[in-house]
């Protein structure tokens, strides 16, 4: 044999051959469109055209001076932080609970995880049925238990619409947090707890000294992912309220959609998208710094 085959040193040709389909697809369907969005944000585009005249920062100035944008940003803020905070809090608590040994634990886990597996449109349908003003079970239970006298207009009263959206979002996506935290909980070596018990540490002490530091990096990473995904989320809000009533649930993605496909104002839609992406970038940096610190503390 002339030379020992080494996979790492291996043929460059194969490296490029296996890489190129994926690279081509991502360049064509992610990189080019992203550049395109930035480009049309600097142009004035007429309906049906691919390009238009260059207008500099005009679209961005419009975005930064429009009340719609700030209203959308505020709604996004309420939606993202409301739902992510609840998901992380309840999700972690449920993971801790479902990590304990008890009979029928598998059944309990299946019920808790199920909402994450079902299609969004199913979740929305079911909740719209449950939130129905007159025949919905939610209002029936609220009135029956004496918590309210008249039916709550969950999806058509601007005081409650965002709350309703957050409830459905938390229900649908908190299983992701449960799965992530359960995974890391199961990897904590049991000896650590045994040693702590021998030393006489209480349950609380074990939680603060062993469990929490151990799960913290995964906790922060999960919160980061949930924040990004919630910020980008479109379908669940669009299908529940369409952004209404009176734009009270119009988050940034819904605003972009409305500008692009209701008003056919692609340039302004693109400008909003670019600004929103920059906002997101700032948020991500903040999270990544927090993550680094939590890793250093370990």
């Amino acid at each position: 044999m002339a030379s020992e085959p080494s996979v790492r040193r291996g043929d460059i040709l194969l490296a490029y051959a296996t890489l190129s389909p994926a690279a081509a697809l991502l360049i064509l369907l992610a990189a080019v469109p992203s550049v395109f969005v930035v480009m049309i944000a600097f142009q004035h585009i007429e309906i049906g055209e691919l390009s238009g005249r260059f207008v500099g920062f005009q679209n961005f100035l419009w975005v930064l001076n429009s009340r719609e944008f700030y209203a959308g940003l505020w709604n996004s803020f309420v939606w993202v932080f409301g739902s992510v905070a609840l998901e992380m809090l309840i999700g972690t608590a449920l993971a801790l609970l479902l990590n304990r040994a008890f009979a029928l634990r598998g059944v309990a886990r299946a019920f808790v995880l199920a909402p994450y597996l079902i299609p969004t449109v199913v979740a929305v349908l079911t909740w719209r049925f449950m939130f129905h003003d007159l025949v919905g079970i939610v209002n029936f239970l609220l009135i029956d238990s004496g918590l309210t006298d008249s039916p709550v207009l969950w999806l058509s009263d601007r005081r409650y619409a965002m709350l309703a959206v957050i409830i459905v979002g938390v229900w649908k996506f908190l299983p992701f947090v449960v799965i992530a935290i359960l995974g890391i909980l199961q990897s904590i070596p049991n000896e650590q707890y045994e040693a702590a018990q021998i030393d006489g540490a209480s349950g609380w002490q074990q939680f603060w000294r062993i469990t929490l530091p151990y799960i913290l990096p995964v906790f922060v990473l999960t919160a980061l992912l949930r924040t990004i995904w919630s910020f980008n989320k479109f379908d669940i809000i669009f299908l529940l309220t369409g952004g209404g009533p009176l734009n009270s649930t119009t988050t940034i993605p819904l605003l972009i959609y409305q500008k692009a496909f209701d008003d056919f104002d692609m340039s302004r839609a693109a400008a909003i998208a670019v600004v929103a992406f920059l906002v997101m970038g700032v948020l991500m940096t903040f999270y990544l710094l927090a993550m680094k610190r939590s890793e250093q503390n370990q």
Binding site: E4, V7, R8, G10, D11, I12, L14, A15, L19, P21, A22, A23, L25, L26, L28, L29, A31, V32, P33, S34, F36, V37, L50, L94, L98, R100, F102, R105, V107, A108, F111, V112, A114, L117, P119, T120, V121, V122, V124, L125, T126, F129, L134, V135, I137, F140, D144, W171, I179, F234, F238, L239, P253, I256, A260, F261, M266, A273, F277, M284
Partner: protein
């Protein structure tokens, strides 16, 4: 020490009481969590068997007075449900297959060849993963119209593949990296070519990973609403989420019963798929997660 005052037996019974209270608490909490999280789905299932008139009764009945399959029958007779279902199946299977083959090869390349192109690509695919759908949908819509692919199922397959590809690459990269290179090397010493080694040694070992990432890709395409909403215009090419969404809000034309029956039927393939691969899925997730972290 404080327990010097109490005898051993007293202390043991106190621990037992404490322990028992803890157990009851765990069961109570677990029961509450499971019922709150599970209720909407159970409610959807139960109500799909109620006759239309009973669905709009106030106060609502818990179990149907009269169990009926009328909603399911109406769904098939009065709507294009079957066509939506077939379209969804085509789009989800097509984009899952593309995503696994193209993404799998890309991930293999990134995990085995440490050259500048793969390093750059791997970073880029992570950024692509963070791009919002709604940002991509505007330019993609332009391109598809120009390419004559607007309102086709192929457009949806391509768009969904693009959306799931970064996840496939990131997940499978970690998975391939965990498969020892020495296995391939020894296959090559035994006379396999490089590609044969990939096909006969690496791929079989990566099956659990491919299954779990395949489930995610399928689920994501099966759920997709935005691409379908923007790219599809004809009734003929509507997928399930889009088809159903046009019935929502038309409470008076289509009854709740049919919508609930449709919701049950859409959920079935996803749940069946999940239960079928559950073991491998969790094993795959655990390995990919641990080794990728």
């Amino acid at each position: 020490m404080s327990f010097a005052a109490s005898t051993g037996a007293e202390q043991r019974s106190m621990i037992d009481v404490h322990h028992l209270a803890g157990r009851i608490m765990v069961y109570l909490l677990a029961f509450t969590a499971a019922s709150v999280m599970g209720f909407p789905l159970v409610w959807m299932l139960i109500c799909s068997f109620k006759p239309p008139a009973e669905l709009i009764m106030s106060p609502p009945t818990f179990l149907p007075h009269e169990w009926t399959l009328a909603n399911y029958r109406d769904l098939f007779v009065q709507t294009r449900f079957m066509s939506y279902f077939a379209n969804s199946l085509i789009v989800a299977s097509g984009s899952t297959a593309f995503s696994l083959v193209i993404g799998g090869l890309g991930a293999y390349s990134v995990s085995r060849f440490n050259i500048r192109a793969t390093r750059l690509f791997s970073r880029f695919s992570l950024i692509a993963y963070m791009l919002p759908e709604v940002l991509l949908v505007i330019p993609l819509y332009f391109f598809l119209v120009k390419a004559g692919l607007a309102d086709t199922l192929l457009a949806l397959i391509i768009a969904n593949t693009a959306f799931t590809l970064p996840l496939t690459i990131w997940f499978m990269r970690a998975y391939f990296a965990a498969i020892p290179v020495t296995l391939e090397e020894s296959a090559m010493i035994d006379g396999c070519t490089r590609l044969q080694a990939l096909w006969k040694v690496v791929v079989p070992l990566a099956v659990p990973g491919l299954i779990s990432v395949g489930v995610f890709a399928f689920n994501s395409a099966w759920n997709d609403f935005l691409f379908a909403l923007v790219f599809t215009s004809s009734e003929r090419n509507k997928t399930l989420p889009l088809g159903l969404s046009t019935w929502i809000g038309q409470d008076y034309i289509y009854s709740w019963g049919m919508l609930l029956a449709a919701a049950v039927l859409i959920t079935l393939p996803v749940l069946a798929f999940y239960l079928l691969v559950q073991r491998k899925l969790i094993a795959g997730l655990a390995e990919g997660g641990v080794k990728g972290g």
